[in-house]
Symmetry: C2
Subunit: 272 residues, 2 copies
């Protein structure tokens, strides 16, 4: 998917919501557990109930790998289901991968080619040759961890060298890499005050923003400092939406939560 | 496996060799391709031919994920085969994972519990709460990326703040984390001169050392600066051993290459 197509979707749906499909078998409705593939059945119901309210789905690979072969199969079925039924969706494999060159190429093929996600999240620690292999795929996107939403973000990401924090070095340096037009960045909502500085370096890039809701970040604050002329934001919510209920009404309740966020986004888009 | 058991193995086998099982279907002997699971058949033959010369096997997960469901199955079969037939082996899932707390727990369970590896490699960018979940498993080990063997290592890992490079911050800070006794570190052989500094911070820790051979690092140099009283080194070789031949004699040739390294290691152990 091209960035232009993503922007079109955002304006059409009046939403820049990304729903995180982080499925934990201990948290899903008990009546699903008996089915042949509870994770996929759960995702399918959530997707069918929310697809008109969001522009993106983001399965975190950890939740699938934790169930081994069966989990990997659920991931495969989920992305296939989205690509076949809702091809307008911007899909994100939240995998946080990164390795030396030829190994990163293997990861890139796994997620961007075989599973056919539109994008994959990548960790920057190993530098240029660990990220560029992901950037080589046309109309695919690499979402680089910059400033994450967790407490540990302050352990290393904000260490200052040569007058700026590590996350700023990551963003600035990444702009010089080959095919850097395919980059997006992860910036946590829990650090809204940082968006102003980040927008100075990458005014046009899309930012994937976790941490709204459960982790305490505010949608209004993030938009105040982070929105750009093309919106340029994908706001992720996982637990707050998908676990709104663990009864038979889970999909309906997930829709209600997604709708609340979409309505708030619609208002924000009116004034931007 | 406990660290003491690993040290015993090293002395018994007179080897601190780790063999990287990075299986690329385009590089393995053509006669294997027709088999039902070529990756597993390849690994099995390599393992049977080399198990007395090395103390560790390290499949890099990228090479398995690249083949989707079938690849994941090959990984599962490989680790099962090692655990059943050579339980003395120190097994490493080279996965370079790392995510927010509850998500890292899912990864840790996947590799340390379900697949039952002895250890997993983890990226430090997201800080304490992304690594500690891996450290919570008793007699399991977390191998943290410190200074990697690739060119991109110099993009961020050597940035100096508060008088020291990022990789030193990573090592020093990680020592303060809960269950830090379960930590080992990745330090690339291509940067042998750094081992002296690193040994000042972590004199006793095990270091997993990629980059000897194909990437240009020298075993002698690494040992000169990196070895400690308990050896404290696992030297990885992947391509140099497993792709020594792609004919019918591939396992035999792999053994020859592994033997060369083991003999060199035996000599080094005599004088240390």
């Amino acid at each position: 998917m091209t960035t232009t197509q993503l922007i079109e979707q955002i304006h059409q749906k009046k939403s820049f919501l990304c729903i995180g499909l982080d499925v934990d078998l201990t948290k899903i409705p008990p009546h699903l557990i008996a089915s042949d593939d509870p994770i996929f059945e759960f995702n399918k119901a959530i997707i069918d109930a929310t697809h008109d309210l969001c522009v993106s789905y983001k399965p975190n690979t950890a939740f699938y790998e934790a169930y081994g072969l069966k989990g990997w199969q659920s991931l495969q079925k989920t992305i296939q289901y989205i690509n076949e039924n809702y091809p307008e969706m911007f899909t994100i494999a939240d995998a946080k991968r990164g390795d030396i060159g030829n190994t990163s190429t293997m990861y890139a093929k796994a997620f961007l080619e075989d599973l056919d996600f539109d994008s994959v999240t990548v960790a920057p620690y190993m530098g240029k040759d660990s990220v560029e292999p992901f950037l080589a795929f046309e109309n695919k996107h690499t979402i680089l961890l910059a400033l994450t939403s967790n407490e540990g973000a302050f352990d290393f990401q904000t260490k200052r060298s040569e007058g700026k924090e590590l996350y700023r070095h990551v963003i600035e340096t990444s702009k010089t890499w080959k095919n850097s037009q395919n980059l997006m960045y992860v910036v946590g909502a829990t650090k809204a005050e940082y968006f102003t500085e980040i927008r100075k370096i990458i005014p046009d890039s899309f930012l994937l923003v976790p941490g709204v809701g459960a982790q305490g970040g505010s949608l209004q604050e993030v938009c105040k400092y982070g929105i750009n002329a093309n919106v340029g934001l994908l706001i992720n919510s996982s637990r707050g939406i998908i676990y709104a209920s663990n009864g038979a009404d889970f999909a309906e309740k997930a829709r209600e939560e997604a709708l609340k966020m979409q309505e708030e986004m619609k208002e924000i888009l009116k004034t931007n």
